[in-house]
Assembly symmetry: C2
Homo-oligomer: 151 residues x 2
DNA sequence: GAGAGATGCGTGCCTTGAGCACGCTTATGA
DNA sequence: TCATAAGCGTGCTCAAGGCACGCATCTCTC
């Protein structure tokens, strides 16, 4: 049976986005980093790594969660020593969430593990195909049905 | 700054797998299909569509959920008329979860919407690149760090 | 400079969802 | 025929999310 490229890609994306696929990958990437780093709390770490210290409300707006939810997740990471709360020097009402050195290390390790896993799976590929795939994937995700755009 | 293909792909995958990305896509694909079809219950529908009628325990094993969890999700879909419970003709203890015609329609519509969205985003691509991307993505997901393999 | 409204955060409360344990029904095998 | 296993529903408990309230601080206007 013939399929169009769109059908084929849609089907493959379905597999990729499946919950079981994601949780397996997440478990693998964060193995041994402590139980505080789970699929709920890791986005807090990586969100802070991306932008530097900021408030729970700000981070919550980005990820679509209530600020109290972010704050409680941050609390678990704080207990694990991966994150600290510091008073905002410019606003004494505000509290900034900031990664500790250990917190940065967790993000670095996790990202490196993903990169390693990807490179392992590309090991047998002709370098030109790997680069072509990287380029096409980047373009697709940037403009595809996943781009934020409208909200 | 130069990046390897692996780094680039890993970074792009990070974006793709982000929760906000997924929930936005899910909302878009299931819009107007009734509130019973959410990100928790849809996998029940698609799981049944994939294999035909089967028990909650069986489906739960596949997706890594307790049978009671699957059964309760199925209950919501049943109330919405998307799914029905039928006695297993071969085992009077067992109950099979089976899609109704409406349930099949929901899965069909959702899949079609994903295909359409993908094809829209490929509209400006040279057909050869689209086909190449489909092929490379399929290969990557099949062998990459996402493949089940070890459990 | 002072007071009113706005903004930021923590905490209590309620709802939802997940999984476990128990009990009942039906299969299976000695 | 009876003991054991297997399947399912339901009650219970726990974790997590969001809302609302209260308090502290900021900002703007007069």
């Amino acid at each position: 049976m013939t399929t169009t490229a769109g059908e084929d890609i849609a089907h493959t994306l379905g597999l990729l986005l499946r919950r079981s696929t994601r949780t397996r990958l997440h478990a693998r990437l964060t193995e041994g980093l402590g139980k505080a780093v789970d699929d709920l709390t890791y986005p807090v770490l990586s969100g802070l790594a991306r932008t530097g210290p900021r408030s729970a409300a700000d981070l919550g707006r980005e990820v679509g969660l209530d600020r109290t939810t972010v704050s409680r997740r941050a609390g678990r990471l704080e207990q694990a020593g991966l994150l600290e709360r510091r008073p905002d020097p410019d606003d004494r009402r505000a509290t900034l969430l900031a990664l500790t050195d250990d917190g940065h290390a967790v993000v670095t390790v996790t990202r490196q593990r993903l990169t390693d896993a990807v490179e392992d799976s590309l090991a047998g590929w002709p370098p030109a195909e790997a680069r072509a795939f990287a380029r096409l994937l980047h373009r697709f995700v940037g403009q595809g049905p996943f781009a934020a755009g409208d909200e």
